[in-house]
């Protein structure tokens, strides 16, 4: 992420706390990254690592009464956190759009597909009536749905999961957003459909020079479709690098463990999956030191007592990790 060009999105020390009866839950804790037009940032991590909370914080759809957000989210130079709610509403759906994990729950079950697409066209582009319908038909065609005009009159339950996700993507792309946040867009779909959906996103991204944040727990998905990757653990980014660098020589033991835990085709049959032992920490009372410390094979006293900061491993400063005892990789510059 060192290439030239102004950043479209610059997230700085972003923190999101959910208010719970036990105290603030640090869902996102000091996350920073930047993203240029046309670029894709992958965000990986286990369930509950704060990936979705981060996505929802950036697009600003978390309840203001139940969460507190601090830090800075600069989008085209404007800090989204200081914008008024009406200004933010103008950005949502037009400049920043989102695709959710499960299209079965993210499409309104009682509204026709057509209405769900045209309402966003009406909201941001002022398109109504025939103009809106013909634009909606175009959108459905562009995401690869057959019989688009019939689809407009159908309800979500009349479509298959893959078709529903295509509709959700059509909704997200309706106003040609500059940034698309895709939160596990293929997790609920069949494996055969997954690649189609990811290819579709990739093609549309290239065609519109759109930036994308691709959230996934699947390293394979991230490896194939991103330029850079941020690994999240317990609300923090623990390693961040270009996709190539991360997969060549990851430094953080958590990233290494994630990679090991993915099934490998070259393993003999019935090889046990190497799951990461233990559970993520309590996010209301996280451990004082490294949050992965309690589950880490390399942990020592310093890991338990002092929190490692995200810092560069090389002179270029492109590969960041937060670890006291990084794993040595063959390709790493010593």
């Amino acid at each position: 992420m060192t290439d030239a060009g102004p950043a479209l999105l610059e997230v700085n020390n972003l923190t999101t706390h959910f208010h719970t009866p036990r105290g603030p839950l640090r869902a996102v804790d000091g996350v920073s990254f930047s993203l240029r037009r046309g670029q894709t940032l992958g965000i990986v991590g286990e369930s509950g690592s704060g990936k979705s909370a981060l996505a929802r914080t950036i697009i600003g759809i978390l309840s203001k009464r139940r969460t507190t957000t601090t830090g800075r989210i600069a989008f085209e130079g404007r800090d989204l956190l200081t914008l008024s709610e009406p200004d933010m509403r103008d950005i949502r759906g037009r400049d920043i759009a989102m695709v959710f994990q499960d299209p079965t729950s993210s499409l309104n079950p009682v509204k026709r597909i057509g209405v769900q697409i045209t309402e966003v066209l009406a909201r941001h582009l002022g398109l109504r009536g025939c103009a809106a319908r013909s634009r909606a038909t175009e959108l459905l065609t562009s995401v690869g749905l057959s019989l688009p005009e019939e689809r407009l009159h159908q309800y979500p339950h009349q479509l298959s999961g893959g078709m529903r996700q295509r509709v959700a993507i059509a909704i997200a792309l309706a106003c040609d957003p500059k940034l698309l946040i895709a939160d596990e867009p293929t997790t609920s779909l069949d494996v055969t459909i997954q690649a189609q959906i990811l290819d579709l996103l990739h093609r549309r991204q290239k065609a519109h020079d759109m930036a994308m944040i691709l959230i996934s727990h699947d390293l394979g998905v991230v490896a194939g479709y991103t330029d850079a990757v941020a690994v999240m653990y317990a609300g923090q980014v623990v390693e961040q690098a270009s996709t190539r660098s991360l997969f060549r020589n990851c430094r953080m033991p958590y990233t290494a463990a994630l990679m090991r835990s993915a099934p490998n085709l070259s393993d003999p049959p019935h090889t046990r999956l190497r799951a990461i032992a233990g559970r993520p920490p309590d996010m209301v009372l996280p451990p004082p030191g490294c949050r992965f410390g309690p589950r880490c094979d390399h942990a020592t006293d310093i890991c338990r007592n002092e929190r490692p900061t995200l810092s560069a491993s090389d002179a270029v400063g492109a590969h960041l990790y937060a670890c006291w005892h990084p794993v040595a990789s063959p390709g790493a510059s010593a």
Binding site: R89, R92, G93, L107, E119, V120, R123, H124, Y155, H157
Partner: protein, 313 residues
């Protein structure tokens, strides 16, 4: 949609037949002899037998049922043994009052409950939500006759804005008709909106946590649009069910309110008929009220289908 409608219609027919049979049996199974009740205990056996023959009570049960059912289907519910007035005529006389009271009270209740429920779900846990919940709980605990008497005291006796008792048919004078029905309808509405409010608020809070609401927000839609255009419909199922039950209950259950405000509704007529042992009238009222219940439930089923396309399959 059409097959759903036909299926429901077929079921409606079956239920109506069962209801008719039950209404008929209700009277037959009651202890006591109608002829004896009419003539008094001193009547001679000959006189009793004659009255029984006149009323057709000496015929077998099945025959009497078929005879009654034939009448029921033609809208003929027989004549009152006491006043000799056709039962259908008495009912048609009173039914408009009850139906108007039913529609007005439920309309008012929904008019209070829907905006309050939507707002409180949106602002769940806030001061305004706590306040509305407290008011709803208070009204839920207050019996309807207390509300009726308080309203009458305040608006009719103290402020003198509205008449306290009596009734004017809508066709005679619509304004005075509404003035007479305002307080009774408000009393019932105040007693009924809390349950509507509570179920809508709870369902709405659940709906607002759905992903499609998050997506609606991510589209840049405003809160009012999201609440009323995206969240209200999928949150209305329990509301419609309870509303249907409440409307049905008003047909016979508005008795107390009808009595307090002197409204000539079905509830009061039925009570009077029970006291006078006017069995034909009781039977007719029960049949009409039951049909009302069944029709309202049929309406609720149709509304489900309008609310959710998945039901129509």
């Amino acid at each position: 949609m059409m097959s759903y409608f036909l299926r429901k219609l077929l079921r409606l027919g079956v239920v109506l037949l069962v209801v008719a049979a039950a209404s008929f049996l209700l009277m037959t199974l009651l202890p006591g002899d109608v002829a004896l009740a009419l003539l008094g205990n001193d009547a001679t056996p000959e006189a009793v037998a004659q009255v029984r023959a006149e009323l057709g009570l000496d015929q077998p049960l099945l025959l009497r049922y078929l005879h009654w059912l034939g009448g029921f289907l033609r809208g003929d519910l027989g004549r009152s043994y006491i006043t000799q007035v056709p039962v259908m005529e008495s009912i048609l006389d009173r039914l408009p009052v009850t139906i108007e009271l039913m529609l007005l009270s439920q309309g008012l209740a929904l008019l209070i409950a829907v905006p309050a429920g939507v707002l409180c779900a949106y602002k769940a846990g806030s001061r305004i939500d706590q306040f509305a919940n407290a008011v709803a709980l208070l009204l839920l605990a207050a019996p309807v006759f207390i509300l009726a008497i308080l309203l009458m005291f305040l608006f009719a006796l103290k402020l003198r804005w509205l008449p306290s008792t009596g009734y004017v048919p809508f066709m005679t004078d619509p304004v005075r008709n509404l003035a007479h029905l305002a307080l009774p309808a408000l009393a019932i509405a105040l007693a009924e909106w809390p349950s509507l409010f509570a179920v809508l608020r709870a369902d709405m809070i659940r709906t607002l946590q759905q992903d499609y609401i998050a997506l609606a927000k991510a589209k840049g839609l405003g809160p009012a649009f999201i609440l009323f255009r995206h969240a209200l419909r999928p949150s209305s199922f329990t509301l419609v069910t309870i509303s249907g039950l409440q409307i049905a209950a008003t047909i016979a259950g508005a008795l107390v309110v009808e009595t307090i405000f002197g409204l000539p509704g079905i509830g009061r007529m039925l009570t009077g008929a029970v006291y006078n042992r006017d069995m034909m009238l009781v039977q007719g009222c029960v049949a009409v009220i039951s049909v009302g219940y069944v029709l309202i439930n049929f309406g609720v089923d149709l509304i489900y289908a309008l609310l959710d396309p998945r039901v129509r399959q």
